[in-house]
């Protein structure tokens, strides 16, 4: 900036300088309301964590049930002589298998 522009800008900043000073102590009630906000925030986080853990446990349980069912059915199917598709065909056509 040249001198004149810089002068005007610097003078404006100097004039407005008091309005840039921050407060040194919180206004009345500020700390209390912030602490209340913090408590609310913390309980929200804890609730979210609880929901997350429950969802995770439920997913794991569902996965375990699905895995058990798959293994059980697979074991039962492997005892038969036929592939599942062929067995269905045999049942539909009521073919006697000796």
């Amino acid at each position: 900036m040249n001198k004149t522009d810089n002068d005007t800008w610097q003078k404006l900043l100097a004039l407005s300088a008091p309005t840039f000073a921050g407060e040194t102590t919180p206004p009345y009630g500020f700390v209390t309301s912030t602490l209340a906000g913090l408590r609310a925030q913390q309980s929200q986080v804890e609730a979210c964590e609880r929901i997350g853990w429950r969802a995770l446990l439920a997913s794991l349980a569902a996965l375990a049930v699905a895995a058990t069912l798959t293994v059980t059915l697979d074991t039962r199917d492997s005892a038969s002589d036929f592939e599942p598709g062929v067995r269905s065909l045999v049942q539909m056509q009521n073919i006697s298998v000796s």
């Binding site: 005007t8 840039f20 919180p26 906000g37 913090l38």
Partner: protein, 195 residues
């Protein structure tokens, strides 16, 4: 600011659930955050709510604080980022003209331009409004950059640390923004001369 506070002890007690420790931290950090919010946001923005929002963010992210630098530095950066986000959300970048100035702002511009003296007691507020108007045409980052250099007299290294930029980026941004600011002041002066 209460310099006697033992931040490490406060953090340890807060992690154990102490409300008193949280209160001490709020009292300790409030002046730092208040100063940043007041400097980097226009005067009419609701600073109390924003200071509270920054404090909430601070506590939510406190587990990320490693303790390598003073907590006030870490919080300053968080506060500045929040202010910049707020300014970005406003997205107003008007080109200021003499006709846009209120009579008080016009008087204060005359005073700054001609003499540098204050015409009356309300001049500081009018000057601040005018500074905010001039700066509102800059991007949030450039606005903060100009204030850190021209108002706070911070070094390039300090600005680079606060903004998370390299020193060359700080120099480049300053180099680009200065002509824009100069152009605005010049236009106001020309329009002032014509009136």
């Amino acid at each position: 600011m209460d310099e006697s506070i033992d931040v490490d002890d406060c953090l340890r007690r807060w992690k154990e659930g102490s409300q008193a420790a949280a209160e001490e931290l709020i009292q300790h950090l409030f002046p730092v955050i208040s100063k940043i919010v007041r400097t980097h946001l226009p005067r009419r923005d609701d600073e109390k709510d924003l200071v509270q929002e920054i404090l909430m963010k601070t506590f939510a992210k406190l587990h990320q604080f490693k303790g390598d630098a003073p907590i006030t530095h870490w919080v300053s950066r968080l506060a500045l980022t929040t202010c910049l986000d707020r300014l970005r959300a406003q997205k107003i970048r008007p080109e200021i003209r003499q006709a846009d100035l209120t009579p008080e702002e016009s008087d204060v511009f005359d005073a700054a331009w001609l003499t540098g003296s204050s015409p009356d007691a309300g001049a500081a507020i009018a000057a601040r409004d005018l500074v905010d108007k001039i700066l509102s045409s800059l991007s949030p980052e450039d606005r903060s950059l100009i204030l850190m250099v021209d108002l706070e007299g911070r070094s390039l290294q300090e600005i680079a640390d606060t903004m998370g930029w390299s020193i060359s980026k700080v120099k480049m941004r300053l180099f680009r923004v200065r002509p824009h600011l100069r152009q605005m002041i010049k236009r106001l002066e020309n329009e002032n001369e014509q009136n």
